[in-house]
Symmetry: C2
Amino acid sequence: MKDITLKEIAEKLGISITTVSKALKNYPDVSEKTKKAVLALAQELHYTPNSFAVNLRTKESKTIGLIIPEVVHHFFSNVVNAIIDEAEKKGYLVIILQSNETLELEKKQVELLINKRVDGIIMSLSNESNNDDHIKEIINRNIPFVMFDKIAKLSKCNKVVINDQKAAFNAVQHLIDKGCKRIAHIRGPLNPQNAIDRYIGYKKALEKNHIPFDANLVYTCENVTFDEGRHFAEKIVKDHKDIDGIFAVTDLVAVGVIAYLNEQKIEIPKKIAIIGFSNWFMSQVISPKLSTVDQPSHEMGIESFNLLLEEMVCHKDGITFEPRTVELDTKIIERESTMKVQ
Amino acid sequence: MKDITLKEIAEKLGISITTVSKALKNYPDVSEKTKKAVLALAQELHYTPNSFAVNLRTKESKTIGLIIPEVVHHFFSNVVNAIIDEAEKKGYLVIILQSNETLELEKKQVELLINKRVDGIIMSLSNESNNDDHIKEIINRNIPFVMFDKIAKLSKCNKVVINDQKAAFNAVQHLIDKGCKRIAHIRGPLNPQNAIDRYIGYKKALEKNHIPFDANLVYTCENVTFDEGRHFAEKIVKDHKDIDGIFAVTDLVAVGVIAYLNEQKIEIPKKIAIIGFSNWFMSQVISPKLSTVDQPSHEMGIESFNLLLEEMVCHKDGITFEPRTVELDTKIIERESTMKVQ
């Protein structure tokens, strides 16, 4: 079906295009009778304003871009869910792109969104990315911009984060409070700031409790998967008979650890206590139920969109906007995997 | 930062706007020297073509809309993942909207996408929807359109589906082959076609094996959740001591059933065998591992986008396109929850 234009409506009714346009916008200087006739015909012909032309006039696309490492991930799908819902309430559409954890794809996608002239960009970095040129490009172009969770610390833009170092410290302190004396850490990849911060939190908790740090007890994931959790659990059990606690960088990895220990009939938490990170829905479903750090994914999505909206409004009105960092609270959720009898 | 126009580049270099435009498009009638100068300045000034103006000229937005019930769902997030990746390869961006399983929100979102003039729409219906006016509107407007998984059977458009009836029949037949004689079904809501088809498949398998159908053994989910699985497992165990098999409409519900039976120390599959539907990643992680029907979510995403692309290309070139239905294969995955010793 061909798109209906204002001109066609005007011709059919024998009035001017301006009158049609005014009638559709409910201007007071058009008679009620004309308005009615225009609206009725517009409806009959399925007229919709041409959004490209509207965009060209207002310089707003009412569309934002969201780049995340991957949508098939409980944490990110929760954030995406919150951002889409919140954007929809405020009249914005969301284009979603996945970097698949590569810098190359992420750069390409930033370029796509810039060319698309989205009104703003929300982003969580891939494991390979940091304060790279494509990030600087967004900031230099003065495009409203929010980074969340996996951020580039030094970039001058809005950030929505948790305190990964503090949260990890608390997780390890929780293991120590439960009587663990020799604690292994399955950490995330070397590059992303949140994996680094969780690792530092682990070390600081040991230090504060006068437990010597042993680099041999730190295992590094490449892809942060269930299988890596299983694999490292096997290595830990074989290489270090005295391990009594494991802090895993995410629940998915921790669930892999539990699967292996269950198979080997190694008692959790009696022999080895486990704590994860993120509070994934599944952590309550497996047996034993997993203790973890609750990471507020839904709240993170809402805060990210609202911070972006604030900058977009300022940007549109030509008001200077000073980027902000919002830090959300985390808390320890104690479940069976650390419930030791003292 | 203000957007750079062709005019500004032309003025700075003292050449015509047409020459700048031709240089950027690499026309042969512009000298190499001029092209170089234009490109260098365009780069320096961060020039990008105004996509709104390009859209207005080409009548293409290179953007598609995707409406799904919810992104926080292993099946849909897998489909979304495949669609985004496939679209990106073909130069399309994807706007994602969630109906949250309501007809009202779904209608609003279809309108948003039509007004946005996306090049095509991919959609999986909410539990409340069927062949409603908003669906007819997309088809009447001749917008390239694909429905997947939860479809309106009677609508004249592209469809990507599995044979839910056959798949459910095979799942129940699998329980019967394992020796089950009294099988309960935890079904999906009354409206969506796939829940109806799985229920019919269940009935047909009983019938073929001369097992009398008992309406009391059918439990209906409202929201298809883990908690409903737990709750109905409790009811089944209390109301029907003789049940020896359960067919759950999705893995999530089946995992709820397993959680309850584990707590009650009811042996799976010795006392009750369980089969789910979808082959969610978690079904391999819980204990006992869940037998299920493998639903090809990734393939479904790829097929949906490619079918849409085919229609979009025809639409652009003014070629008549006859909508098609693609049916994907499913298979039974046997795991511990049905491995009865015969």
